[in-house]
C-alpha cells in the first residue's frame, strides 16, 4: 500500500465551494431578472439571451480549442458573461447584435488576456461598449414592454432619458421599480436585481461594499444636484442600468479590487463617474463607462489599500 499514499503538503481538506459553484450562484441570482425580461418583452428577449449565452460559451470553447488550452466552459463564467451582455441589450436588438457582442466580450474582453481571472475589464461591458460605439442606433432603440417589434415600431424614451429631456412626462416611479419601462432587458426590474444581489451577499459570493457604496454615492449626488428631491434621486437609483451595473457588473471579481478598502473606493469612484456622465454629458446613462474606467483603476486602488498585516502598526504592544 505504501507507494500508493498521497503525500501532498497541507492543508489536506478544503471547502466545498468551487469556481463552478460560485458562478452557478451568480447565475441563480440573475435568473429572476432574466425571466422578468422575458415576461416584459416576450419571446424576443429569450432569443437575445440565448444567442448571447450560446455565443459566449461557444467562443470560449473555440478559442481554447484553437490555442490548445484546457476547455473551461464548465466553470460557467462564460454563461454569466453572455447573460450579462444579453441583459445589456434592448429588446429590439437584431439577432446579430448579441452574437457580435458576446464574441467580442469573450474573445477580446477575456481570452486575449488569459481567460478567467485575468481580464482587467469586465468582458460583458467591453462587449457592450464595442456595440454602443459601433451600432449606436440599434443599441438605443428602446421599446415599451409588451411591444411587438416590427419595422414600424417607434422608439420610446427611458426614464433617465426623459429625466434629461422632458422631466414632466417621465414614467411613474412604481413602474420604474418593477420594470415596466423601456430599457435594456436587464436594467428594467430593479427589485428582482436587488433580490439577486441580496442572495449573493447572503451566500458570501459578493461583498456588500461595492454595490452599497456605488448606489449610495449615486443617491447622494442625485440629492445634492437636485435640491434634495427624493423623487429624482429614486429615478437615478432605479431608473437606469445602475442596479444591474452596481450589483452584477462592477462586482466582477477579475476587474474589481480584492481589498476591502479598495472595494469602497472603487464603489464611490464608480458612483461619481456615473453621475458626472448623467448630469454633465450628452448621454443619459453613464454606468458602462464609469465601471470600465474604475476597472482600469483597480490595480492602482489595490496597491494603496492593502489590508493591515497582523502585528504591524496601530497595534497595542
Amino acid at each position: 500500500m505504501d507507494n500508493r499514499l498521497i503525500a501532498t503538503s497541507s492543508p489536506h481538506i478544503g471547502a466545498k465551494d468551487t469556481t463552478t459553484s460560485v458562478m452557478l450562484d451568480v447565475i441563480i441570482a440573475l435568473v429572476p431578472a432574466a425571466i422578468a425580461s422575458i415576461y416584459y418583452f416576450g419571446f424576443a428577449s429569450a432569443v437575445i439571451l440565448a444567442l448571447a449565452v450560446g455565443t459566449a460559451v461557444g467562443t470560449e470553447a473555440l478559442i481554447q480549442r484553437l490555442t490548445h488550452q484546457r476547455i473551461t466552459i464548465n466553470d460557467l463564467s462564460a454563461v454569466i458573461t453572455g447573460l450579462l451582455l444579453g441583459m445589456n441589450l434592448p429588446a429590439s436588438a437584431p439577432w446579430w447584435l448579441p452574437v457580435i457582442g458576446s464574441f467580442v466580450a469573450i474573445a477580446i474582453g477575456k481570452q486575449v488576456f488569459g481567460g478567467i481571472g485575468n481580464n482587467f475589464i469586465n468582458p460583458a461591458l467591453a462587449g457592450r461598449a464595442f456595440l454602443v460605439a459601433s451600432w449606436p442606433v440599434e443599441m438605443t432603440f428602446w421599446t415599451n414592454p409588451g411591444t411587438q417589434i416590427t419595422a414600424d415600431t417607434v422608439a420610446s424614451a427611458t426614464p433617465l432619458g426623459l429625466l434629461k429631456t422632458s422631466p414632466d412626462s417621465v414614467q411613474p416611479l412604481a413602474d420604474v421599480i418593477l420594470g415596466r419601462i423601456p430599457g435594456t432587458l436587464g436594467e428594467t426590474s430593479a427589485i428582482l436585481l436587488l433580490i439577486g444581489g441580496a442572495y449573493l451577499v447572503y451566500r458570501k459570493i459578493m461583498s456588500w461594499k461595492i454595490p452599497v457604496t456605488y448606489i449610495g454615492t449615486v443617491a447622494i449626488i442625485a440629492l445634492l444636484a437636485n435640491g434634495f428631491d427624493f423623487m429624482i434621486m429614486a429615478y437615478h437609483v432605479f431608473g437606469g442600468g445602475l442596479m444591474l451595473g452596481a450589483l452584477f457588473m462592477a462586482t466582477d471579481y477579475s476587474s474589481s479590487p480584492v481589498t476591502s478598502k479598495g472595494k469602497i473606493i472603487y464603489g464611490i469612484g464608480a458612483g461619481l463617474i456615473t453621475m458626472l456622465i448623467r448630469l454633465y454629458s450628452s448621454s443619459a446613462e453613464g454606468v458602462t463607462y464609469a465601471i470600465l474606467l474604475m476597472n482600469v483603476a483597480t490595480p492602482l486602488i489595490e496597491k494603496y489599500t492593502a489590508p493591515r498585516v497582523f502585528g504591524t502598526g496601530g497595534a497595542k504592544k
Binding site: 500500500m1 505504501d2 507507494n3 500508493r4 499514499l5 498521497i6 503525500a7 501532498t8 503538503s9 497541507s10 492543508p11 489536506h12 481538506i13 478544503g14 471547502a15 465551494d17 468551487t18 469556481t19 459553484s21 460560485v22 473551461t72 466553470d75 463564467s77 488569459g114 481567460g115 478567467i116 481571472g117 485575468n118 459570493i205 461583498s207 471579481y253 477579475s254 480584492v258 481589498t259 476591502s260 492593502a306 489590508p307 493591515r308 498585516v309 497582523f310 502585528g311 504591524t312 497595534a315 497595542k316 504592544k317
Partner: protein, 442 residues
C-alpha cells in the same frame, strides 16, 4: 454559540469531525516489539546518540543529547537493546538519524528516573534545567524546546502564561481528553510554568465546542490564585499562537516577533501535562497522547503511545485500516504532514494520526485564480495570499516579501477557502524558504 467568546479577525469553520473520538477515554497501548526514536524531534540542533548498538537501555534513559541550547535530549521509551542507529523515515518529512530499540517487554525504569524535590523549593533556573533534562518540546506539533520558551531574554518581561487548549485542528481530541481526564495535571504543569517564568497570571484558553473541558477546568482552577479559564470562539486557527494571544489579551505579536515580545509565553496542554508528570515522577517525555482517527481506520481512538512506536503498530491496535488508505497524516488535516509510509514513528509532536480513505484524499485540480478575494477575507494574518502566491509562482520572491510573505503562519486557511483550489499556502511556503535563503546568503 456564546457571543462573548474571545476570538481574532479572519479564520474559518471547517467541519471538525471530533465526534469520532471525543468521547473515547485515553487507552494505554501495548509496548511494541521495536521502537524507532529519531534523534531530532524538535526545532533546533539534532542530538548525538549516547548509546551504542548492542547497549541495553531502560525506560527514561537518555539515548541522545546535544550541546546546543535550542535542543532537547531524547530518551528511551522502552527497555530493551539498541539494534541499530541509522537514518529512518521520520514524520517531519525527511529521514532522520534514529535509535532503533528491540524491546524486552519488561519496561524496567532507568535508575536516573527519580522524583525531584518539591517544585516549591526550586528556583526558576533549577526548574528550567529539569525541563530541559526531561526532553520537553512543544507537543502541539511544532515541537519547540520547552526550556527555551521558559528562558526569555532579560529585556523581555513576561506577565502572563497562556495554556493552549484551543485544539482548533479538526479531528484531534488528544488535548481535549487530557483536559477532561487529568485536569489536576494541567493545573500542576501550569503552576510549574508560572513559577519558572515568575508570573502570577495564567489563562487556559479553550474553544467553546468543548464545554466539558471548560467546565472541568473551571472547576479545577477555582481555588487556584491567578489561573483562569477563557472561553474561545470555535474557529480555526484559534490555537495558532498569535491568534490565541490576540483573542485572550488583544495584544498583537509584532510582525517578525515572538509571543515574548508582548509579554506572553504559550504552552500546549500536552506539554503542561508532560511537565506535571516530569515533576511528579521524574519521568522524562517518553510517551504522549495521540488521536488516531479518520475515515480509513477501523476504530478511532485516543491512545497513550510510547514515543518511537510506528504508525503501523498504532493503527493495528485500532483494528487496522477499514479500507485502503489514501493519505496518512502526522497531525491534523489543516497543518499536518502527509506520510508516504506507515513505518514512521510517533514523535514528541505527533498529536494525531489521521488516516483518510482514497475518496477523502483526492486532490482537486487547481484552476485559474478568479480573484474572489476569499483568501484575503479569511487570512488571520491580514495578508493577501493571492498576491504572494502569484509572485512566488513567477519566482518574484522580492515582491512576495513586500506582500509580507514572512508573516504567514502557514495555517492553510487560504488554500482551504479557495474555490479555484489553488495551492496558495504551498507557494507561500516556497517564497518563505527562498526569502530566508537569500537573507542567509547576504
Amino acid at each position: 454559540m456564546n457571543k462573548t467568546a474571545l476570538t481574532f479577525r479572519g479564520g474559518i469553520h471547517p467541519p471538525h469531525h471530533k465526534e469520532l473520538t471525543e468521547h473515547k477515554p485515553i487507552e494505554n497501548t501495548p509496548v511494541p516489539e521495536e521502537v524507532v526514536i529519531p534523534l531530532l524531534q524538535h526545532i533546533g540542533a539534532p542530538c548525538e546518540p549516547t548509546v551504542k548498538v548492542g547497549d541495553r537501555v531502560e525506560v527514561g534513559q537518555v539515548i541522545g543529547e546535544s550541546e546546543g541550547f535550542v535542543s532537547a535530549p531524547v530518551h528511551a521509551s522502552v527497555s530493551g537493546t539498541v539494534k541499530k542507529i541509522e537514518n529512518r523515515p521520520c514524520p517531519v518529512g525527511r529521514r532522520v538519524r534514529s535509535v532503533v530499540i528491540a524491546t524486552d517487554g519488561k519496561q524496567t525504569i532507568h535508575q536516573s528516573v527519580k522524583p525531584p524535590k518539591s517544585v516549591n523549593l526550586m528556583d526558576p533556573d533549577e526548574i528550567k534545567r529539569i525541563v530541559r533534562k526531561g526532553g520537553l518540546a512543544g507537543m502541539g506539533g511544532a515541537a519547540f524546546p520547552t526550556h527555551v520558551k521558559l528562558s526569555p531574554p532579560e529585556d523581555k518581561s513576561i506577565d502572563m502564561v497562556i495554556i493552549n487548549g484551543a485544539e482548533c485542528e479538526p479531528y484531534l481530541t488528544s488535548d481535549y481528553r487530557m483536559m477532561v481526564e487529568m485536569p489536576e495535571k494541567v493545573v500542576a504543569g501550569t503552576k510549574v510554568v508560572m513559577k519558572a517564568l515568575g508570573v502570577v497570571k495564567a489563562v487556559i484558553g479553550i474553544e467553546n465546542n468543548k464545554p466539558q473541558a471548560i467546565k472541568t477546568l473551571t472547576e479545577a482552577v477555582k481555588d487556584e490564585r491567578g489561573i483562569s479559564v477563557a472561553e474561545l470562539e470555535t474557529k480555526y486557527p484559534q490555537g495558532g499562537e498569535k491568534s490565541l494571544i490576540y483573542a485572550v489579551t488583544r495584544r498583537e505579536v509584532p510582525s517578525g516577533g515572538l509571543p515574548m515580545d508582548v509579554g506572553i509565553v504559550v504552552q500546549n496542554i500536552g506539554t503542561v501535562v508532560a511537565i506535571s508528570q516530569l515533576f511528579e515522577t521524574g519521568m522524562p517525555l517518553v510517551e504522549r497522547v495521540v488521536t488516531v482517527t479518520g475515515s480509513a481506520v477501523k476504530e478511532p481512538k485516543n491512545l497513550m503511545v510510547k514515543i518511537g512506536t510506528s504508525f503501523k503498530d498504532v493503527i493495528a491496535y485500532c483494528g487496522g485500516y477499514s479500507e485502503e488508505p489514501g493519505k496518512l497524516i502526522n497531525g491534523g488535516p489543516m497543518m499536518g504532514i502527509a506520510q508516504y509510509t506507515d513505518e514512521v514513528p510517533v514523535i514528541k509532536g505527533t498529536s494525531g494520526i489521521l488516516v483518510m480513505n482514497k475518496q477523502d484524499a483526492i486532490i482537486p485540480e487547481p484552476t485559474n485564480c478568479i480573484r474572489c478575494g476569499k483568501c484575503i477575507d479569511y487570512c488571520p494574518c491580514g495578508l493577501q495570499p493571492l498576491m504572494i502566491s502569484k509572485n512566488s509562482l513567477l519566482g518574484r520572491f522580492e515582491e512576495a516579501e513586500l506582500y509580507h510573505a514572512m508573516d504567514c503562519i502557514e495555517c492553510g486557511t487560504c488554500s482551504f477557502v479557495c474555490p479555484s483550489k489553488r495551492p496558495l499556502v504551498d507557494s507561500i511556503r516556497v517564497a518563505k524558504i527562498e526569502i530566508t535563503k537569500k537573507k542567509k546568503k547576504s
